[in-house]
């Protein structure tokens, strides 16, 4: 069955012509595509919702832009690029940044360096109507509008995100995984009716959507823990009249455990009357803080448990080894991996050390020395290295 020579020639000519056509066609160039328009037809039968004509999409995005204008704040990130923040309430805005922001920036109220979330000061009056949240159960596929920063101000871009699928992220907890869309971390996503929102964050090498409900949880945690690592363990809130700061709860590992009680009215911290719960929680982290509280009819002065044992490390004596009550962010203790609530079962060769043992051993060490620490939480124990700078 050897092909005839004519057949062989035809085959060779075809291959040659095909390669030539391929090279020729490859030279064609097309103008850059505009915004991803939906196909003007064919919704699958399980998605026979409102039809997604491109014109409808454009109109919806234009309406949404007007609605979102009071909520979105333009800013400049640390590397000088335009960025966006979302007004979270009447005084705070939320943003994501790929770089650790300057802690000295007066607009920054709180930073979560691990995740890149920022809480910014941004007062607006009157506050805009609240946007609804977005639960991770949201399903797709759907068109969304992405608010993205640009040199000329922010703009909305309609994007088809494929499908939204709730997945677990080790960095963010629950996220909505997206497919079929190019999204920029730091931009905000909205449903076309503006009733649902999310923040695009990097996750597992790609982009994911941090749903509104999850974003709120992160924002509240950030507000409680302005430095993102060493919360005092005291939750505060305002009375309905906003006249007094009330202690809502005290974690049992906190330096203020057994000192402050839920229901205490906080009057001053370090001789100052705090203006906000955030400011009060910040002040309660101080090693020398003295708080004045009203408990019933009594007025009390209370001090935190524990004492400074090393820079940024407060310990309280406890059976079986000192308990870490506070670790300052960016301190040698924080860099070693110590957390508030850890119990030290060994410190530089001393078993079950007291706070005084730790202070003594740390003081005796030379700059650059690496001290081995065995710390644990419950039954878990881990070996850490604390380097004296």
């Amino acid at each position: 069955m050897v092909p005839e020579s004519r057949e062989l020639r035809l085959l060779l000519v075809t291959i040659g012509a095909s390669l030539a056509v391929l090279v020729g066609l490859a030279r064609l160039r097309f103008p850059a595509a505009g915004p991803a328009a939906p196909p003007p037809q064919l919704l699958p039968i399980d998605r026979l919702g409102p039809q997604a004509l491109y014109e409808d999409l454009v109109r919806a995005v234009a309406r949404l832009e007007t609605r979102l204008a009071p909520h979105l704040v333009e800013r400049t990130s640390e590397d000088g690029r335009p960025a966006l923040a979302l007004l979270w309430n009447s005084t705070q805005a939320l943003a994501w940044s790929p770089l650790p922001e300057r802690a000295s920036d007066p607009r920054i109220l709180a930073v979560d360096r691990g995740r890149g979330l920022l809480l910014l000061r941004h007062a607006i009056s009157p506050p805009p109507a609240a946007l609804a949240e977005w639960s991770p159960e949201a399903a797709g596929p759907i068109y969304l509008a992405a608010a993205e920063p640009g040199p000329g101000g922010w703009a909305l871009r309609p994007v088809y995100v494929g499908r939204l699928r709730a997945t677990h992220s080790t960095t963010w907890g629950g996220v909505l995984a997206v497919s079929g869309a190019s999204l920029t971390p730091g931009s905000f996503l909205f449903t076309l009716d503006g009733r649902r929102l999310g923040l695009v964050v990097p996750d597992a090498g790609g982009a994911a959507v941090l749903a509104g409900s999850n974003l709120r949880a992160h924002a509240e945690s950030l507000a409680r823990d302005p430095r993102g690592a060493a919360w005092s363990g005291v939750r505060l809130g305002r009375t309905p009249s906003e006249a007094r700061l009330i202690v809502l709860s005290v974690e049992d590992w906190s330096a203020w455990a057994e000192r402050l009680r839920a229901g205490d009215s906080l009057e001053t911290v370090g001789d100052k009357a705090p203006a906000s719960s955030l400011e009060a929680e910040e002040a309660l982290r101080s090693a020398t803080a003295v708080a004045q509280v009203r408990r019933g009819n009594a007025r009390l002065q209370v001090r935190p448990v524990g004492e400074p044992a090393a820079p940024g490390l407060r310990l309280a004596d406890a059976p079986g080894g000192a308990r870490v009550v506070a670790v300052a962010p960016d301190s040698p203790a924080a860099r070693s991996g110590l957390h508030a609530g850890d119990r030290l079962s060994a410190f530089d060769g001393v078993d079950a050390p007291t706070a005084a043992d730790v202070a003594r051993r740390y003081g005796a060490a030379r700059r650059g020395d690496r001290l081995v620490v065995v710390a644990g939480h419950g039954r878990e124990a881990r070996a850490l290295v604390l380097e004296k700078p």
Binding site: M1, P3, E4, E7, L10, L11, T14, I15, S18, V21, L22, L25, A26, L28, R29, F30, A33, A36, A37, P38, P39, P40, Q41, L42, L43, P44, I45, D46, R47, L48, Q51, A52, L53, P141, Y160, G162, R163, R165, S179, G180, A181, S182
Partner: protein
Amino acid sequence: MKHDGLDELGPDPIDAAIETGRVPLLSRLAAPLRQRAALGLDPALAPVAVFVGLGFAAGPAGLGVLGADGLARLETAVAIAAAALGVFAGLELLPRSGERRLFVAASLEALVTMAVVAAATGYLLAEWELLRGLELGSAALVLGLAAAPSAASALLGESRLADLDDALPIVLGGVLLPVLGPEIPPLEGLALTAALGVGAALCGWLLLEHARDAAERAVFLLGVIALLGGAAASLGLSALLAGLAAGLFWRLAPGAADAVARRDLGPFQHLLVVLLLIVAGAGVALDARVLALAVAFAFFRLTGKLLGAYAAAPVAGLRRPSALAAGLLTPGVIGIAFALAVRGARPDADAALLAGAVALGAAFSEPLAWLTAPEPSKAA
């Protein structure tokens, strides 16, 4: 050419039914337009270029007679039509006596065509940077799979080989579609589709075997086909593969379910094919990108079919691969149905681009098939 080895395999019963020796003049003139779209279908007058063109003219980009709303509602009908085509294919899939070599040859030809079209269009898509979210490999595979099926022209003798080259693309398309749509892993998608097809076929078989009369059987059959198409589209699975599994089940099951399906679905085949072609044409958003990709699709389909014919001819026992390639050039509506299914499962700009290119490319392929058709004596 007709006698190049195929005589050893016996005459094709469908070709025999055409009675080419006594065709009236009008039928002879229409012969190039008569083709069958899938295994088990009789030749019907359904030229791709004509109906895709009509669909485009009636669609949103043309006169707007068939608007976006209407097309969206036809999506269900398209899936059901694809399921019916799959059933036709499944009923005839089992190689007849002496056809095993032909089946291998047809699958080999389809595979080579698929590889050539996927490689060439994949390269071009990468160079042109046309895709906005769909992965390049997936897009190239969609085009390759859509290019592989051939329609058996009433003019030519290689109709059985052209029929059998539908099977592999249907199966591979059934694996790819769930990955592109609901992102189901390939094997899981294949298993789900097969389970859907066999499950619906089992229900249909029980109903058909216990039906009291022909009218009841017809209602049950249409119900099962609607279930196959609707469920597959709803789950983002391949209606073609689900239909193929159902057809195969009926073919293998005892009783007369296969004969009933052949008899009762037969009258609808032309309507189904025309519907698919018109919807495909109406969905074309004609611009330079779609046009360029369609030209590339048609050209490299020609190349792929020729190379495929060279690979398949020795297996099938044929000596003139070029003649075989000419017989395989007529585009199969199975490829268009697959492209429509991709657009249904993933309604974004990329899928619309691919479906438009496949519809237009198939329309371009048809005149190429007529131009390269062998001497008129073959028709007689």
